[in-house]
């Protein structure tokens, strides 16, 4: 059993109501209530529906987390909550809840950056990050490359998507192929029977003239358009679409760019570790290609288990516990939420 502060983390930046409890770097519980099925019929996350679902799920999820971890709320040493980035109305439900706990129990609160959580969560499974690491965060909401220094309070953004997030591209292409929302798991499944090099879809921002300015940025909207055009053209020609080949070729284009840039970012920054987080990290081809390329480059690849890759409260608790261990100053009760929050802001301290 490890020691360390007992921290409860709350995450409500998108459509998952997450409540996690950690002791130091030991995960005690990761309780998540998802409203994804309620969004499915809209083909994307509806902010107001997500906010309503968070409110309804919050108290039951906190109760479930405490009972599964065998702790009572009064045992908690500190609370942590996602302050941003994310859906404004959804973030407010989480921060209001965490603030209420902090007031009721007289304990400190840390308002943390969601993106840092996606990297630090890996410590719960694979131990402390010994030195600087590169984080590749890919989900329906974000696609970014970060440099995380060993002290997680120092995070630098290396690049991000200029248009669609990677997960968004999966959703949009799934819709083109008549596959259900969310698209990621369905494309992954269908692509297993397809040939990833059947169709040469474009690799966004990899041409030399783009690399000068956007070495570590991504762009996926051109890829989506290219898939749409290809399908339209084939249909017009009366050719039947091989869904498996389209899915596999699209997926290959995405993961090729992601892994190529992530490994290049490691090498450029002397980082020995690559951590992949976000819902797209569950993609089997991404994991396989990342492993292959990290092995070639002598980089250690750290990917949390799928449940910790998607949004959850444990990742927020993990950041909170790290901050407590470092003696970081807690946030004041008036801290705001920030739907746009730069990755370099790991902790939102106060209203100023």
């Amino acid at each position: 059993m490890s020691n360390g502060p007992l921290v409860l983390g709350i995450e409500t930046s998108c459509d998952e109501t997450g409540v996690g409890i950690v002791r130091g770097t030991t995960l005690l519980v990761d309780a998540v209530a998802s409203s994804v099925e309620e969004h499915a019929r809209f083909g994307g996350v509806v902010p107001e529906v997500a906010s309503r679902a968070h409110l309804e799920a919050m108290v039951p999820t906190i109760e479930r987390a405490c009972s599964e971890a065998g702790v009572s709320l009064s045992d908690i040493d500190a609370f942590a909550v996602t302050a941003g980035p994310g859906l404004a109305g959804a973030l407010l439900v989480g921060t209001a809840s965490a603030k209420a706990l902090a007031v009721a129990l007289g304990k400190p609160i840390y308002a943390v950056n969601h993106l840092a959580g996606h990297v630090v969560v890996d410590e719960l499974e694979h131990g402390p990050l010994p030195e600087s690491a590169i984080g590749l965060l890919v989900s329906g909401g974000h696609s970014s490359l970060l440099l995380v220094h060993d002290d997680a309070q120092d995070v630098t953004s290396l690049g991000a998507t200029l248009d669609d997030a990677a997960g968004e591209a999966f959703d949009k292409v799934a819709r083109l192929l008549d596959l259900p929302f969310p698209g990621g798991p369905h494309i992954d499944r269908v692509a297993r029977d397809g040939n990833g090099s059947a169709i040469a879809f474009p690799r966004g921002l990899t041409a030399s003239h783009d690399m000068a300015e956007h070495e570590f940025d991504f762009s996926f909207s051109g890829l989506k358009t290219s898939v749409a055009r290809w399908i339209t053209k084939e249909k017009a020609a009366g050719t039947s679409i091989n869904v498996a080949d389209v899915a596999a070729s699209f997926q290959e284009a995405v993961v090729d760019v992601l892994t190529r840039k992530a490994v290049a970012a490691c090498l450029a920054n002397d980082a020995q570790h690559l951590v992949i987080g976000g819902g797209v990290a569950a993609n089997s081809r991404l994991r396989a290609l990342a492993q292959e390329r990290c092995d070639e480059a002598g980089i250690s690849l750290r990917v949390p288990s799928p449940k910790l890759c998607t949004d959850n409260g444990a990742m927020i608790a993990a950041v909170g516990a790290k901050l407590v261990r470092q003696g970081a100053q807690p946030s004041t009760l008036d801290f705001p939420t920030a739907s746009v929050l730069p990755v370099s802001t790991v902790v939102v301290r106060d209203a100023g």
Partner: protein, 226 residues
């Protein structure tokens, strides 16, 4: 009984600890900062008084974003302190501040040129509502009634739901032996609330601590199948 009242259904963030004749109130008027100020106000009230035995929360109707801050806070405080939480229609709390010889309306800003409203008799008992509609679409009889609250059309500072009133109403209803409305507000259908939450509370005064949304979320499924 010591009752903590909370209301964030209007531009006012209002917190009060009421115990008999003793009242500690903290309020901030800023419709965009409920989430920032509410916990600060709460800590001041809690530090000054004893832990409450009951939490009473204004459940709207009102703009959702602010409303949810208060309702979430009330629910989680109840969990953390192991004290019961009840809801009060926020329009009732505005009505309780009105003195009027006959029937009247209480209104709250519902945005999009619409108002949340409820009708009260001279004893401030709700006889219709809460509902949402455009003020200019009310039937002539209703439209002719005196209006109080937001969108009341007067130049004076509008009456707003106050936490101390919420707490007092909750105490009075409990003393009168009313039980909490457990009517099945089916929030599991988040996309489909077309007014069922309000229908289910008409006639009830002591409510479950969940928001009265009344309107369905703005969301349209692809192909228009909402």
């Amino acid at each position: 009984m010591r009752i903590l009242g909370i209301d964030t259904s209007s531009e006012l963030s209002s917190v009060a600890l009421v115990d008999g004749d003793s009242v500690i109130t903290r309020e901030v008027l800023d419709g965009r900062r409920h989430a920032e100020v509410l916990a600060v106000l709460l800590r001041e009230v809690v530090d000054e008084g004893l832990r409450p035995e009951l939490i009473a929360c204004g459940v709207g109707p009102g703009p959702y974003t602010g409303l949810r801050v208060g309702v979430t806070t009330a629910q989680v405080l109840g969990l953390a302190w192991s004290v019961p939480v009840v809801g009060i229609c926020s329009l009732d709390a505005t009505a309780a501040q009105v003195s009027c010889d006959g029937d009247f309306l209480v209104t709250a800003d519902a945005r999009r040129k619409e108002a949340y409203w409820a009708r009260y008799d001279r004893n401030r008992r709700r006889t219709d509502g809460p509902r949402v509609s455009r003020i200019d679409e009310l039937d002539a009889g209703t439209a002719a009634l005196p209006r109080f609250g937001e969108l009341s059309g007067t130049s004076v500072e509008p009456l707003r739901p106050r936490a101390a009133v919420i707490a007092r109403l909750a105490g009075a209803y409990l003393d009168a032996g009313e039980s909490m409305s457990t009517s099945d507000i089916d929030l599991s259908v988040h996309g489909g609330d077309t007014g069922a939450t309000a229908d289910s509370v008409r006639g009830s005064r002591l409510l479950a601590p969940v928001p009265l949304y009344i309107r369905r979320p703005d969301a349209v499924a692809p192909g228009g199948k909402a």
